[in-house]
Symmetry: C3
Subunit: 141 residues, 3 copies
């Protein structure tokens, strides 16, 4: 494939499990695939909670933001925005690739069967770095 035809890529490390920080990676990744880019999400630390079965539904907010999770869920509903779990499902359907972090799964005692359907096989930091080196935008969220 020629250089010109290669798709642009974005790779995002998803390290937070809170409601407010769940949206940015999903918004960026789905916007990217809509622009015909490739998008990779690498879930590590608390981010893993978002792809655990039933985990996205339990996402809360840090108290210091001064808004309760209930109030934010209300805003989300009012604005007609998808819930986090609906958004994850849509992102998977759109072709966003989601990789769980192998080391963090071990640390937090999370097993492959605890994760939602559609995510890729767990990978380590080195494999992620290889993907990141081939990406045009790399973010840690």
């Amino acid at each position: 494939m020629s250089e010109e035809k290669k798709k642009k890529k974005i790779a995002i490390i998803v390290s937070k499990g809170t409601l407010d920080m769940a949206y940015p990676p999903l918004i960026l990744a789905t916007a990217a695939v809509s622009m015909d880019m490739e998008a990779i999400l690498f879930f590590t630390m608390w981010g893993l909670n978002l792809i655990k079965k039933g985990g996205a539904e339990q996402a809360t907010l840090p108290t210091h933001v001064g808004v309760s999770a209930e109030a934010m869920n209300e805003l989300i509903k009012k604005a007609g925005v998808l819930t986090v779990s609906e958004f994850i499902k849509m992102a998977l359907d759109m072709g966003v690739k989601m990789y769980p972090c192998e080391q963090a799964m071990k640390l937090m005692g999370i097993k492959k069967e605890d994760l939602i359907e559609g995510v890729e096989k767990p990978i380590g930091a080195a494999t992620f770095l290889d993907m990141a080196l081939e990406s045009d935008i790399v973010l840690f969220i």
Copy 2:
């Protein structure tokens, strides 16, 4: 313009509204323009509070950092560092471009007239990604 003459660019997503996380994007963006780079700040989520009229003055600190906002403001004053709102004004004067995130404004019920003077028109995630693809450094703060 020839490849050699093109300015280097930094694009930063500003997602936090706390006192401690308000400084890093401002320091990096102003350092960048001082080095004759272009600097773009994309304000989303709680970051929008920093460019709301009167918002930067109310920035606090998460409790877990173990320092009160008052104590940090004291440190900032003692060190002769600008306040967040002074810093934002200086950054705008220096040519840092500040873009509010359209979707986050809608979600949080923020209107264009609520924002300080000098910021650009709101843009969406896709427009930001286009800018990020042309940048040499892209960060999520």
Copy 3:
């Protein structure tokens, strides 16, 4: 040196001092040097606490993650993972370069003699940006 022989580089801004956010930069930087990349960590804000003498041992967790620092230290021990201070020492031994942020040291009243052995001389944001412009992956953690 020819283009092909130049080592790939990763540059990470370490701005958090909590237990959960201390690991990601260390894991990524050591994975990178294992892959024959160069790795630079730039410690600023609360991140400076990790390279203060005795600081890494005191790293705690934000309450909103819903896990106590004690419980996480237990998980870390159980999983046979290094403590943060052991990990920092190993990273230095492996050749990860650690730079303290000059401005943040001044703001927080931290002196060079307060820092652990093995870290580089403090640098400013502009010097870091120069390093970042030569890096293949740049992250803010």
